[in-house]
Amino acid sequence: MRKNSGALGTVPFVALGLAWLLIPMLTKIPPYALPTPGEVIGRLYSGVVDGSLPKDVLASLRRLLLGFCIGNGLAIPLGIAIALNRRVSDLLRPLLTFLASIGGIAWVPLAVVWLGVGSGAVLFVIANQIFFGSIYNTVTGVETIPRVLRRAVLSNGARGTQMLWELIVPGALAQIIVGLRTSMAYGWRALVAAEMIAGTNGIGFRMMEAVKWYQTDTIVLGMIVIGVLWLVLDALLFSRLERATVVRWGLLRETA
């Protein structure tokens, strides 16, 4: 739907670029408030040459990946375990719903008290955000597997691991993937936010530092990098993952 836009889609980009070039010449906006495209490109160049930009990007991506793996690595098995037993699920579900609704960003100050300013606090926030977002979806995914299917598989003699791999995991997969994707979207925001408040490196930290010195070229560059990184991540990871799994099995409803 938004695919075959082609050349027409580049028009607004060109228009925006032109406007960006012309606005500083035609208006009296102070230079510190709006850097020229040239300045931002210059900042990109110097950042790449002295290696500071790739370093920040890698620091942020590493944290995101680590938080994603820790959060989901704990949430998915735990979520499945919880959902398999009705009583355990009844016991923990309200608690998990509540903790999920606090949201990672609200944890930032507490994370700083506990772990100090730096990578530890940022990682805690993002893993926390991803864990709670993901576990909720996993539990829901397992619980919405039709009871009929479960009974059918049981009466055919499936037990234990066979039950897990042939019913539970595939049955809950669509919801788990929805969870992966949503938790990544929230996690990405939490990462940038946590770096801005509690970071000592990474893109978010660099942007907030730049505010102190009115280095708007660094800020605008950071915004563009964040946008491009998200598009790349989304295209590389999730669109592909969804196509390979959910869409193939015909489970996707175009809602989210």
Binding site: G9, Y32, G103, V211, I219, G227, R253
Partner: protein, 276 residues
């Protein structure tokens, strides 16, 4: 006799459902109570300083003080005002643009890529430049909220409008409906479930965005409370604030957004139809 049997069968089923609901509530409450007890035990037995790991009692105390001094109600009102204004304005903008892009294929393919790119620059990333432009304050927060709500509403509205069955539009048009009637009486109702879904997604992001924006750019509100209290070693207040954040979101989501979505979706029967 058969009536009696039917009635007793039915009341048995009702009883079972009620029992299940009670069981669920009791177990859920037990889970929460269990965590609070564990937390209290850990805090009092570990001997860790209070500012580092306050106990539930400390947090309850902080909560009471915040209530009695009127800080919490005032901050809640600040946050609520910003939130409502932000999502209201954001929804209106997203809705208008989404309808326009949904109706016009040309506009959609023209502006689609640009919008995708700007949506990828998450609202959190806009805060630094907003701070440069407008300083720390209401405008920065409000624009960030409008930004984060408008996009999901826009995309979902556009997709939902696009999915309106062509037949319906043609039929109504053949009956002599004006373009305005087509939009108001066919396209808009058909797109409503999608619009609501977009609204729910946007409202969720905006709630987190609000807390963050208040941490950076406000001198009051719940986000400010959480951050400043931690900086002043009043960690019990921080946790009280976090609990308020969680509770408020739970109330918004479970009491308003989800039922709202269910009602619209059920009334128009779109989701059920798609699921079959």
């Amino acid at each position: 006799m058969s009536v009696g049997a039917g009635a007793s069968f039915r009341s048995g089923a009702v009883g079972q459902v009620a029992f299940r609901r009670i069981e669920r509530g009791v177990l859920g409450a037990a889970g929460v109570a269990g965590l609070v007890l564990l937390w209290q035990a850990a805090a009092s037995l570990s001997g860790v300083p209070r500012y580092f790991f306050p106990s539930p009692r400390d947090v309850a105390g902080a909560f009471t003080v915040l209530l009695e001094k009127g800080i919490l109600p005032a901050y809640l009102a600040d946050s609520a005002g910003r939130y409502l204004a932000g999502i209201g304005l954001g929804t209106a903008i997203g809705l208008a643009l989404g309808l326009a892009l949904g109706v016009s294929r040309r506009a959609a393919s023209m502006f689609g890529p640009l919008l995708n790119f700007f949506y990828a620059i998450v609202e959190v990333a806009w805060i630094p430049i907003f701070v440069i432009w407008w300083g720390y304050g209401l405008r920065t927060i409000l624009v960030a909220l409008v930004y984060v709500v408008a996009f999901p509403v826009l995309f979902n509205t556009q997709a939902a409008v696009r999915a309106t069955p062509r037949v319906l539009i043609d039929a109504v048009r053949a009956l002599g409906a004006s373009p305005r009637q087509v939009l108001g009486e066919v396209i808009f109702p058909a797109a409503l479930p999608g619009i609501i879904t977009g609204f729910r997604v946007g409202a969720g992001f905006a709630f987190r965005g609000l807390i963050f924006a208040e941490m950076i750019a406000a001198k009051n509100g719940i986000g400010y409370l959480i951050l400043t209290s931690a900086a002043n070693h009043a960690t019990d207040r921080t946790i009280a604030g976090m609990i308020v954040v969680g509770t408020v979101w739970l109330v918004i989501d479970q009491l308003y957004l989800r039922p709202f979505e269910r009602v619209t979706v059920e009334r128009w029967g779109v989701l059920r139809h798609a699921e079959e």
